[in-house]
Amino acid sequence: MTVRKYLILLAVTIFGSSGDVCLARGMRDFGAVTTANWRQLMVVLLNPWVVVGICLLILFFCSYLTALSWADLTYVLPATALSYVLMALLAKVFLHENVTLEHWLGIALVTVGVGFVATGPVLTAPARHPREELESTASHVAPQKRTRSEV
């Protein structure tokens, strides 16, 4: 794992949690959206908090896809689950939401879960990059040719 890859996992965690918190903050400016007032959703999209939240969630999705391009799904999902912890802390600080004992227990469980995968291998699934497959085929073919010429 390179520093760049750790930074991408960190980006997934930070952009995901901060995006959700910004959306939650923006939705507080409006009442509950129901079928009776669904047109309010159009106005919601003009709220600066919602706009920032959507931008952050786009960045989250880009970094999530980047992480999936070089790491297993069963590595990325638990490794970035700290976003749930960060979300609870951001909600407490910025939205003044109540973080209960149950939440702290949840935070502890998620942290232990992340610790389990953090020290393990990043990729166990077979690589499917066409170029890597070509390179691996070439490296297998070359020694065979050498052997034949030697014979």
Partner: protein, 126 residues
């Protein structure tokens, strides 16, 4: 709505969210390291490769279905039931699906991670 209908809704959220994650993971593995491709061929090439992947688009479709399933199921029962149940079961379902469809080696450490995170998310989402 009865509890059976609520759980059917939760099952549909878990199924569609897992299908979306697995399809996108497979699509990204097929495309290769996005960071390396961006450095070699530029961001436009990365976007073209990702958007041009039929598996990625199918994954996106399943993610949209998961979102709408969540919205519909939320209209049937309390968020305190649906939120934790769907989030934690999706973690477990992803571990099974990654083992079966992506051929990932899900060892005891990853199973423990999935179980701990699922439990933690269930508590956080209440």
């Amino acid at each position: 709505m009865t509890a059976a209908v609520t759980w059917a809704g939760i099952a549909s959220i878990v199924f569609t969210a897992t299908a979306g994650d697995v399809l996108q993971s497979r699509a990204m593995k097929e495309i290769g390291d996005l960071g390396a491709i961006r450095r070699e061929q530029g961001i436009v090439h990365v976007v073209r490769r990702v958007v041009g992947s039929s598996r990625f688009m199918l994954g996106l479709f399943f993610m949209a279905l998961a979102f709408f399933s969540l919205l519909v199921t939320l209209s049937w029962d309390d968020v305190s039931v649906i939120g934790p149940a769907s989030a934690s079961l999706t973690f477990i379902a992803n571990a099974f699906a990654a083992r079966i469809f992506l051929k990932e080696r899900v060892d005891h450490r990853r199973w423990l991670a999935a179980l701990f995170v699922a439990g933690g998310v269930a508590l956080l989402a209440r």
